[in-house]
Subunit: 252 residues, 6 copies
Amino acid sequence: MANKVKEAWKSGKAVVNGWLAIPNAFSAEMYAQCGWDSVTVDMQHGVQDYLSCVACFQGMQPHGVLPMVRVPWNEPGIVGKVLDAGAYGVICPMVNTEAEARALVQYAKYPPKGTRSNGPIRAGSYGSGGTYQKTANDDVLVIPMIETQTALDNLEAILDVEGIDAIYVGPSDLGLSLGMEPKLDREEPEIMKIYERLLKETDKRGIAAGLHNGTPEYANKMIKMGFKLVTILNDVGLMVNAAKSAVKIARG
Amino acid sequence: MANKVKEAWKSGKAVVNGWLAIPNAFSAEMYAQCGWDSVTVDMQHGVQDYLSCVACFQGMQPHGVLPMVRVPWNEPGIVGKVLDAGAYGVICPMVNTEAEARALVQYAKYPPKGTRSNGPIRAGSYGSGGTYQKTANDDVLVIPMIETQTALDNLEAILDVEGIDAIYVGPSDLGLSLGMEPKLDREEPEIMKIYERLLKETDKRGIAAGLHNGTPEYANKMIKMGFKLVTILNDVGLMVNAAKSAVKIARG
Amino acid sequence: MANKVKEAWKSGKAVVNGWLAIPNAFSAEMYAQCGWDSVTVDMQHGVQDYLSCVACFQGMQPHGVLPMVRVPWNEPGIVGKVLDAGAYGVICPMVNTEAEARALVQYAKYPPKGTRSNGPIRAGSYGSGGTYQKTANDDVLVIPMIETQTALDNLEAILDVEGIDAIYVGPSDLGLSLGMEPKLDREEPEIMKIYERLLKETDKRGIAAGLHNGTPEYANKMIKMGFKLVTILNDVGLMVNAAKSAVKIARG
Amino acid sequence: MANKVKEAWKSGKAVVNGWLAIPNAFSAEMYAQCGWDSVTVDMQHGVQDYLSCVACFQGMQPHGVLPMVRVPWNEPGIVGKVLDAGAYGVICPMVNTEAEARALVQYAKYPPKGTRSNGPIRAGSYGSGGTYQKTANDDVLVIPMIETQTALDNLEAILDVEGIDAIYVGPSDLGLSLGMEPKLDREEPEIMKIYERLLKETDKRGIAAGLHNGTPEYANKMIKMGFKLVTILNDVGLMVNAAKSAVKIARG
Amino acid sequence: MANKVKEAWKSGKAVVNGWLAIPNAFSAEMYAQCGWDSVTVDMQHGVQDYLSCVACFQGMQPHGVLPMVRVPWNEPGIVGKVLDAGAYGVICPMVNTEAEARALVQYAKYPPKGTRSNGPIRAGSYGSGGTYQKTANDDVLVIPMIETQTALDNLEAILDVEGIDAIYVGPSDLGLSLGMEPKLDREEPEIMKIYERLLKETDKRGIAAGLHNGTPEYANKMIKMGFKLVTILNDVGLMVNAAKSAVKIARG
Amino acid sequence: MANKVKEAWKSGKAVVNGWLAIPNAFSAEMYAQCGWDSVTVDMQHGVQDYLSCVACFQGMQPHGVLPMVRVPWNEPGIVGKVLDAGAYGVICPMVNTEAEARALVQYAKYPPKGTRSNGPIRAGSYGSGGTYQKTANDDVLVIPMIETQTALDNLEAILDVEGIDAIYVGPSDLGLSLGMEPKLDREEPEIMKIYERLLKETDKRGIAAGLHNGTPEYANKMIKMGFKLVTILNDVGLMVNAAKSAVKIARG
């Protein structure tokens, strides 16, 4: 499978990413037909586990979106399992040090670049002719989350780790870490300055910067600012907002 | 449990009803917090079966919405099972004759009004003090769908069947039956005339009329016209519309 | 697999039957180790469907209890499916006429005795050497429920239908049908008289009579009265009673 | 979605059909990549229900096989549900009379040809541009099973029912009905004569004839004889045969 | 949601806690109506994983019991996930050192007290008005298990870790660690002396002490001794005991 | 339960092991009847998680195969959970050092040999009379995988760790680690030399050597070479090969 996110980034484009918290293949397959470039199964805060991730991937597969996962933690067992399941990108929370970034890359790459174990049980069938193992080290996106003061302190060292394709910013956790309220679509100057630094440092290294957003309007603004991977809420968040609005209008 | 839909109807109010096609309790529990009066698990066209209906009911229960089901067909086995699971209303597709309406009432009521078998395994625990069986015949809403020319031909006879609390109109099937395109939010004069007849005949008998809608604006208009039970699309339809819109805005 | 219930009945013994409402294989496998002769998955009022029945059967299988099912309704599709899944007995609710009893037997027997379709996907592996189809017509118990006034009116005609191995009495539904409260462990003289008639008529024909009970003490009394198949509540009922008692004792 | 089975039949070709008894999307997606033209979820004798059928369809969808279902029984609720789920063909067991064949066609076709209700929740997304409802009556294959003496007695009347695309023969049930052993890959002259009659009568009417087979060699012979739809065992049967053979060889 | 366990402890009362090993929402919802103050999903030794925990929580929610989890191990990924799912208490096995206790507190608290990541997908909806994140650090109970000799050696250091609300004793593991048989409801003087020390040291620090029990009578005795959190077996254990007893009585 | 693998090894025999990637109890129960000595649920590269492992064990249990698990990673939480679920053998990937081997043994043994926590919720019921905990340390097989250059470098130290019953070789990962293609059934002299060393060193210590194979013919050759535990592909691999072959033959 061509990694359409990687290709978009090569040509300088931003990608719009979906986010799945509902552990259901039917929901995922309908959501995957809405225009997203990639769709990420959120195994950290979403109501997802490994088998629901597989089910969501099965629902998504016919619809041409790049399958990604946010793993619950930087741990080799689960990183290996979601890659075998067919993830073409791994977003990993709370990567705060160079060592943690190196570990993540190790878990996600086959030797000699890493220590991933061979057995791409579903991933292998995305490709053609059994070529998966030859191209996976290049195709699979490794994306640590930068979302704490510690990560900012170690930013350059993290970004210099070979094998990192992008970073992803969680604005709520970043805020909490800095003593602010946990929320999305932030406007604080302090945060804006951090975003600018992240964009500058990633851009310098040919790494994409991603951001989780609460509204499509803010996401669009962030694309213009330079972010190359934007997500808007998640499946259930969009549904709840739409339902609340529908009820109000129907009641008049 | 007080049947808040029945109470609303008694006081002349219309209710806004949710509709679940996603077979998942988490999705259902989030959706149930959006302001609906009742939420219906759609076992006919939704991706739902009996156990997913139970799961959705479990997700909905803390949030104060009346649980209802659209059964896949007018069949005693499944009517009994969803009532035992806790449905306080049964919407039944394709009720076209007086005999079919009588059968539906029979399946949904305990003796002597019907032939429902005793065993309200989840329903019993909605109540308090083991009173469920004493009040169920009054509390459970029996709602045949009027959605074919045959049903219109037999309308008065259907409505005169004792034990019917409301009717529900499926505009797509009604259209198909009349040789029109299957769609919601219809404006054809021929259909409007049918709606007027339905409202008149139901109103005369103290029966509520319900309608499936594609947009909240149309639903609001239908409340003003006299419908007492309006649904807007379903969970997945609202999510898909919201997601398509978010992608477009984010891309700018 | 030897049908140990049939063997017990041949030697004049009563069997103690378990009843599963919890749709879970782990729960079923633990429950199956408690001393029951047979365990019945209740697909009518239990929270069970076809796949949960299969799962419960899988949990029960190592533990030597005869697997039975109460089907939700007298319908050929589901009778065939639970037999294929490995049920060695089918309890069918609301069999009120000779015609309904004949239909049930038809659904449960291979030609020439009935119209069951061949394909015992799990049932076949209970046996050895592919002999299942040759013995199934003899081994599988067909057990209509007698639980309405209509059934009592037609009792002899129902019992005379060839192929019926036992009847099963639902005291709650029987009570409802007679205008009494729905409850188990009844003591009304009117009901006792009915039980005596049922025992006499079944005994005369070499048919076993079964009864659903609320307490083991009452079940024991009914065995002494002549019932050959007694059930005590179900899995969840026993658990709830035990839990309520434990909480009270712990609080002192 | 183009109905590749229908196209093959138009050009006079036979199709090789897979058969799913394992209720799992992963198993289905791997099996769907083995070269079948169509894959049928067996809800009659397979360990399948409605939601496992949906899961199998999700697993199959990216791999270009036509999704079909064998329903458990000729019943409008389940026929409607599997079509909504995306089945492009319905194989229905035990169709023994013209009336049963007419009923099946009714359940499977939208008005005015039948009484199918509108709501193709997954099926709609196989197509493009919302055209599903306009083409479904032509695209969806209606395939009654001819597997009893009664069906043979009524053969011409059944085949003359408008809307039937093919018939499917269950050799085990056919054998049982004729007083023979239930088995596949039959060689009895009596059966061969029946097959010849079926091929002659279907061919005359432009209807395809299908057959369930136990070995690929026999299936190939049947294609040569004129059958246009051949199935070989099912997923689990092929696996079990392969596993038994592997164990033997490994042991030496 | 008010933390009724915390409130009970403040007023000096003991709480009676349920324990779920059966991975099923229906079983959980029935069990939750038996009078427990809190119900703990046992993800260590119970047949539970993350999604079954969510399902159990959904079943429990309407019935007013405090939801807690025993995690399988002291690991940040799973601690975060169960808190997001709505756990208001985390019981963690095998906390043997001060460092392990500190780690547990870190995983369970938002900054600045810990490193928990923001995203309370279900937990957020227990509260009202989006206040969850502001009160979670106070509301969520952190409960390390003291069940080895090493833990006893480090007891004071563990108890001095800020943020610990209670300890929980596993008598079987404690026994194994001390070279004794693994069992509940212990009476060995050596164990009693340990319990007295635990009660003294926790009481001194305003920390509650909890204990797993085999019978309600022993649990009651332990409440009198000073334990503030007592559990009696688990769901399946109570069911099995009740079923074995019922079979015996029914057989006479 | 007698550990038939251990007994076979004691008498010098090799065992043939099955391998489950399909997360389904029905598939597992059919596969378990094919002649395997043991069947391993592959939680590393198979589409399996904890609850699907439990389901597969339930399907396997009546059929006399020793239940084993390949865990996803060397982590105490999951090792404990699969043993409680009833695994009588744990195959652990990527054990590269003596310390890792020691940790694995610790996780798998009760005190004083290790730190496994007591609570064999399903495992306990395999035995009789509550003897499980007394024999588990002897019965449960601990099997580290040797599949990297690092592991070969540390081979003697790993093998000398007390409590290791066997090793298991993953030829694909071993190849990757040595800079070769990932594949099974290897013939490279370099690999053969490694196999000879492994057989010599394990044999010397009374430890069995196991190997994953792609064909039964190669597996048989490896038994002759001295391997005592051979696996052939997995459930889905055998099915896919058989299905591809069947399609080809049917097409002619």
